[in-house]
């Protein structure tokens, strides 16, 4: 009996052992898969270096890496680094490992000494040599790619000081290594660096470095780096409310064309914000509307911010937008204070406006809109005057002052005369009788309003067409076959064709 017990026990033990081994193997295989995927991505880098095609990196590589975001592990990243850089780039490998060793979230626990299993032992020496040769040309690029992937992983885990450290090493490598292939990865590193500084509250300290990097990017014609760094600098200035400096930078440094529509979108948003604060409301509205159109649907936080600024700018311009116009359905719940604001401005009641402004003051403050919202008081009164002007043909000034909630009649008189001068309403004041006489709005078509409206629409359509035309990209491979003159066309055939042409014209 006892013997069978131990037998069963043995069987149970071996089963358990098998199970443990299996999970180990599964984990190993999972880690291998991450490593495999990263290695596949690196093949893309090699191809990009060979073809001198940075676009491969900016679009395909980064997109594929983005997909891997959920599966990254510290172990996988270190294994990938060791496998790829192991034979070919000892300095890179050492640099990379030194930086990663200091980081948390699993990086310090990984065993850096153990060599990864030799998976490729079935291949013969020739394939291995070829692979090594290919890898040699892409050593620095692969190292930078490793930094980007590590930063991505650390950002997910919110390890901000680690991110900063990794990015700084990466930037150091970038500065020595001047090829355009690495530009998109460099741009990523800059953004992560800025993000980490922002979260740690030390944005002002990296400003000098960002300016230096921007200068370097301009000198090297690194367009994606330029766009990214300009946006990061503007963000830096706006974080500290340095609107004048931001405007000075943007006015001088705004690029003519954009490679990355995401960066263009961000620039438009910052441009709109600056112009709104500096009282250029029409410019601001144009920029913010474009930004809201270009923004991808997934960028919910960004779209929310743009929508908030847009609604305030619209109110400052005197339009009272309705709900559906301003915010799409998924953002509506978070814009409640702004809708109340719009209602108060539309109603023309100063008291309600002051109530709303003080009630939501903290949320306006956190959006950076507190002072801009305070400017709306004049708009409230103006819209109140406009409502009265459309409703009445003649009304006494004392009645106006009562309706608007003003303290005295002379105030009302001044306000109405200013409104008339600014073109808000068409009316006449008679001081002796204290009456405002409003001329009702005549036929709109006799003015040039329709002309302006049509012109704006036509100009927009033509702009869209021109931009689309400029943005056409031809497939480089197709061009190779197209340019070549077909080899089997003989001289006589060409002459015959030309004669036909001449006959055609002679007729």
């Amino acid at each position: 009996m006892g013997k069978s017990n131990t037998e069963e026990g043995d069987v149970a033990m071996t089963d358990a052992n098998d199970h443990v081994e299996k999970t180990n193997k599964e984990e190993d295989s999972k880690v291998q898969t991450i490593q495999d995927k990263l290695l596949d991505n690196v093949r893309l880098i090699e191809e990009a270096v060979k073809e001198k095609e940075p676009r491969l990196i900016s679009s395909r590589l980064l997109r594929q890496t983005q997909v891997l975001k959920g599966e990254l592990t510290a172990e996988g990243i270190v294994l990938f680094v060791q496998t790829y850089l192991g034979g070919v780039g000892e300095t890179s490998l050492e640099r990379c490992q030194n930086v990663l060793k200091e980081c948390g979230h699993g990086f310090s626990e990984v065993d850096y000494e153990s060599k990864p299993e030799e998976m490729e032992q079935e291949e013969d020496g020739a394939t291995q040599k070829k692979k090594k040769k290919k890898a040699e040309i892409a050593v620095i690029e692969a190292e930078l790619y490793a930094y980007v992937v590590a930063s991505m992983y650390l950002v997910q885990n919110k390890a901000w000081s680690d991110v900063l450290r990794v990015c700084q090493v990466g930037v150091g490598v970038l500065m020595e290594h001047n090829t355009r292939i690495v530009d998109p990865m460099g741009a990523r590193l800059y953004s992560y660096m800025s993000l980490a500084s922002e979260k740690m509250g030390t944005l002002s300290q990296i400003r000098g470095m960002l300016l230096q990097l921007y200068r370097a990017a301009v000198l090297r014609h690194d367009s994606i780096g330029q766009e990214t760094l300009l946006n990061l600098l503007l963000r830096n200035y706006l974080h500290y409310k340095l609107y004048d400096q931001a405007e000075a930078l943007r006015a001088k440094a705004q690029p003519e064309t954009y490679k990355s529509s995401a960066q263009h979108c961000r620039l438009l948003y910052y441009h709109g914000r600056i112009q709104a604060v500096l009282l250029e409301y029409s410019d601001a509205k144009e920029a913010l509307v474009q930004a809201s159109r270009k923004a991808p649907l997934a960028a919910k936080g960004f779209r929310l911010q743009v929508a908030k600024w847009l609604i305030v700018v619209r109110l400052l311009l005197g339009e009272v937008p309705n709900r559906s116009e301003v915010a799409p359905a998924d953002l509506r719940s978070m814009m409640h204070p702004y809708f109340e604001l719009a209602k108060a401005v539309g109603a023309g009641d100063v008291n309600v406006f002051m109530e709303v402004a003080s009630k939501y003051q903290s949320s306006f403050e956190s959006d950076g809109l507190r002072h801009v919202v305070a400017r709306l008081r004049a708009n409230v009164i103006r819209s109140g005057v406009r409502r009265i002007a459309t409703a009445y043909s003649r009304i006494s000034l004392s009645d106006i002052s009562n309706k608007l909630g003003l303290t005295n009649v002379s105030d009302a008189e001044y306000i109405v005369s200013k409104a008339i001068r600014d073109g808000g309403i068409t009316a006449e004041l008679d001081h002796e009788t204290g009456i405002m006489t409003c001329s009702s709005v005549t036929d709109v078509y006799s003015t040039d309003e329709p002309l302006n409206a049509f012109h704006a629409r036509i100009a927009f359509c033509l702009d869209v067409y021109n931009e689309a035309y400029k943005a056409i990209r031809h497939d480089p491979k197709a061009r190779k076959t197209w340019n070549a003159w077909p080899k089997d066309v003989e001289e006589e055939d060409i002459e015959a064709i030309l004669e036909d042409f001449e006959d055609y014209f002679d007729e």
Partner: protein, 264 residues
């Protein structure tokens, strides 16, 4: 290391000039002080930390604050801008390293008021954004913000009475200048709004004396008749407006033709 002797002497000279309202002496003292201050390492832009850093920065800030207040009372706009630009880093960049100044709200208020007087409204707003919360809620600054709100709104009557409720004596000369600006605004608003005004009413609205009425009429091209001022005779008639309209329409049409040609 405490502040060097030469600097201390210059500083006391400077303060003497200010208290005696001696303008030329003030300028000379300020220039020599500025030169001496550049030798101190802890001030912006060098911003080196050291044992005497705080004392040096406090001294420098005090110098510039006094300079700003004195130039504002002299009515020297360019000097005010210069000195305030020198003072700004002490309020913004090294805010955390020195204890807050009591005069800070007053100086920011003065700066904002100066921008308002010169009609630099965009700079007014961008400066307002820079201010930390505790400064914004101070009476000196909120007074100026209120003033700006009234000007934008058109409540010019309040501005006239604002002078009596001025928060600080330094504001008074600037408030006088604002009243002039406001008067011009009211004149142009009245031109748009009224057909004719009795002379006494015009005086009341514009807040001017009887003898100044003629000067205003001459400036704006108003005619006087039977005790009334005729305001809207001076406005151009719409006939002439047709011309720029036509030009614009032609310009637009040419643009459309050009774009369409390009497409086809």
């Amino acid at each position: 290391m405490t502040v060097p002797q030469a600097l201390q002497k210059l500083y006391s000279d400077f303060q003497n000039c200010v208290s005696k309202q001696d303008e030329s002496g003030f300028q000379a003292a300020l220039s020599s002080l500025k030169i001496e201050l550049t030798k101190l390492p802890s001030l912006p832009p060098r911003l080196e930390e050291g044992p005497g850093a705080q004392e040096e920065r406090l001294l420098a800030r005090d110098v510039y604050e006094t300079a700003v207040l004195f130039t504002s009372s002299l009515g020297d706009d360019a000097g005010f801008d210069r000195n305030f630009a020198l003072l700004k880093p002490y309020y913004l960049d090294i805010r955390d390293s020195i204890p807050a100044s009591e005069k800070e709200p007053l100086l920011w208020g003065l700066r904002l008021l100066m921008l308002l007087v010169q009609n630099r409204i965009a700079e007014f707003h961008s400066t307002l954004e820079l201010l930390p919360l505790d400064v914004v809620s101070a009476t000196e600054v909120s007074y100026v913000m209120e003033l700006e709100g009234w000007m934008m709104q058109g409540s010019y009557a309040n501005i006239g009475s604002a002078k009596s409720s001025a928060v600080s004596p330094y504001y008074i000369p600037l408030l006088d200048r604002i009243v002039t600006t406001v008067r011009n605004e009211v004149a142009s608003c009245s031109q748009a709004a009224y057909k004719k005004l009795r002379i006494e009413d015009a005086q009341k609205i514009l807040d001017i004396r009887a003898d100044e009425v003629d000067a205003y009429c001459a400036e704006y091209g108003w005619k006087k008749e039977n005790g009334y001022i005729l305001l809207q005779q001076s406005m151009q008639q719409d006939a002439l407006q047709g011309l720029p309209e036509a030009e614009r329409i032609i310009h637009n049409c040419m643009q459309y033709a050009k774009e369409l040609e390009r497409i086809i």
